[in-house]
């Protein structure tokens, strides 16, 4: 009988119900789309942030603090420590190997171009690394997409890239031939391009790592590696682990396991150091923290928008339900006169609200998918991955909004005096 009453009431008041459903649909669509984007956002923001530079630095472990002067490690070559280029493939063997999106080695040296002393940097521009899962392409072109090159990127031996500031100083242009001398050896190079980065790189010279190793007599050596990794912003566990010298010792085993198996930047650097016992992996804190802070603020903004959407939606339901209760005062009065108790009235109205919430939730989820796809395409330029748990969440949210929005009118309905309602 109750279901019959609810069904008949809903069918008879379909226009009013449609208004309540519309209100719930809009609110739930907004909330579920924001949740969908929010669940997918860490990866997306991570990818976006990776285009602003590497977030991990791998350097040789040495007893002295590494000091850089004019962008290159200080000290004579004999005093400096190195990593082996052939080991770099190990970066794609760690637990979070798939989160390592790129890495670039650097080897520094001093050289002269027409009597001017310059910093020579050997690196990978676009290099193929052999990994367990096959070839992996990486290099500056992948990890530093903001570098602007006038001319072209070096594409073979005998070509180099000159920083914009140095090129101005030496009056060099793309296509010029120069003689570069390291003291040990000298060679003719063609200036393939002039690079603008907005940083210290503009006063340096970049060439393929293998040629720099030959010129500097450091075959197979690299001095530092910039690594781009997709990471998870720090939470309480990550912040606690950060304070420990060795999380394996300092954390309870279960927490350690959780920490190790989460892509926190410190967990990834920990795993890199496991793969490179002679290396020291350091998070580039500005990048990592900026990412975390940005993500936190974005999620807060999403939560605020979702909150406003929920309140607005609930107000819509309240207005519709109030009108319905007012319209049905006589009916409520009759039911009470026939012996209905408050729970009969409350039950009927809440069931109607729940049904409205159910329709609003399912429809809202559908619209939310479209909205999320739109946000993904317009804001992140990539599709959004849909998470199935968002569907029950959308339905539960819509139900909660419908029930909360109906609470006040339903309370008023249940407290209605039958004698007054019948007299109207």
């Amino acid at each position: 009988m109750l279901l019959h009453l609810v069904k008949d009431s809903l069918v008879r008041r379909r226009r009013r119900i449609a208004l309540a459903v519309l209100s719930l649909l809009v609110g739930t669509a907004l909330i579920s789309s924001l949740l969908t984007v929010s669940l997918d956002i860490e990866g997306k923001i991570g990818k976006e942030m990776r285009s602003f530079g590497a977030n991990i630095l791998l350097i040789p472990r040495s007893e002295t603090v590494p000091v850089e002067i004019a962008g290159m490690p200080a000290g004579e070559i004999g005093d400096r420590s190195f990593l082996r280029e052939e080991d770099l493939g190990k970066l794609k063997t760690i637990f979070w190997k798939n989160n390592i999106t790129g890495f670039v080695p650097y080897l520094f040296g001093r050289a002269r171009i027409e009597g001017t002393q310059i910093v020579l940097v050997g690196t990978w521009f676009d290099h193929e690394v052999s990994t367990e899962k096959g070839p992996f392409r990486t290099g500056i072109r992948q990890t530093s997409p903001w570098w602007r090159v006038e001319g072209e990127w070096p594409s073979g031996r005998g070509q180099l890239l000159i920083g914009h500031e140095l090129a101005d100083r030496l009056a060099l242009e793309p296509g010029d031939q120069i003689n570069l001398n390291t003291g040990q050896s000298g060679r003719e190079f063609r200036v393939a391009g002039i690079v603008s980065t907005g940083g210290g790189e503009e006063s340096q010279v970049f060439m393929d790592l293998s040629e720099a190793q030959e010129l500097l007599g450091l075959a197979g050596r690299v001095e530092k590696v910039q690594i781009s990794a997709l990471t998870k912003p720090p939470d309480d566990l990550a912040r606690r682990a950060r304070l420990l010298e060795d999380p394996k010792e300092g954390l309870p085993p279960k927490e350690y396991e959780k920490w190790y198996c989460s892509p926190y930047i410190e967990a990834i650097t920990y795993q890199i150091e496991e793969a490179f016992p002679d290396g020291l992996a350091k998070p580039v804190r500005q990048v990592a923290d900026a990412e975390g802070a940005f993500l936190g603020k974005l999620k807060l903004l999403f939560a605020l928008i979702a909150g406003v959407a929920a309140v607005t939606s609930a107000m819509g339901v309240t207005a519709t339900m109030s009108a319905t209760v007012k319209e049905r005062r006589g009916e409520i009065g009759l039911m009470k006169a026939l012996g209905a108790e408050n729970f009969h009235i409350t039950g009927q109205f809440l069931l109607e609200a729940a049904f409205t919430g159910l329709i609003g939730g399912v429809a809202g989820y559908g619209l939310g998918i479209v909205l999320a796809a739109l946000i993904g395409r317009q804001v992140f330029d990539s599709p959004v991955s849909f998470s199935l748990p968002v569907l029950p969440f959308a339905i539960l949210t819509s139900l909660a909004i419908a029930l909360l929005g109906s609470a006040l009118p339903v309370r008023r309905a249940s407290r209605l005096e039958p004698i007054q309602a019948l007299k109207e």
Partner: protein
Amino acid sequence: MKEIMKVSRLSKTYGQIKALDCVDLSVREGEWLSIMGPSGSGKSTLLNIVCGLDSPSDGSVRIDGIELAGMSTGELARYRREMVGLIFQQFYMVPYLNATENVMLSQYFHSMADEKEARRALDRVGLGHRLDHLPAHLSGGEQQRVCIARALINEPTLLLADEPTGNLDDKNEGTVMELFDELHTQGMTLVVVTHDASVGEAADRIVYLEHGRVASLSI
């Protein structure tokens, strides 16, 4: 005969207005009592209190030995669905439920809706051919007969009617009165509020109210 309804020193005031003033009244089991009087005499107020829709300011109302004064809202709701059958002048039906469903509504609040029983009740009041009709498609007399079926479906101790023929033409008034007569013959206790002398005179006893007081009794 057992005393089904006992009203003692019943008063009801609305602000400064005394709707009922120290009314004493009793109804025996199987008796048909008419309450008559001019507009504003307090007869509907008396009926509303007896059916548990309103509460007295003072005095006592006992139905089958149960005191209504001081009952909670929930207790009054239970009293209405279990002990009394109500019939109103304006019929009051749920517009989107058909005749059978309107009768079943009363069953639903009482215990469990039973369609067969509801159909039998409508058949009993001569509406076996209008079971699936919505109130809008029923005449006034038919609507009132649905209300009588609804009032009887839970086998109440007392049938209370407020101007049951007030909105009916002579023919339908006759049909309703025949039904009341039949119910009375079967032993139902009826209290009918009316200002229609022909309706009132059908009862075993008439109580006249004036200015909230019992003016006279006629047997």
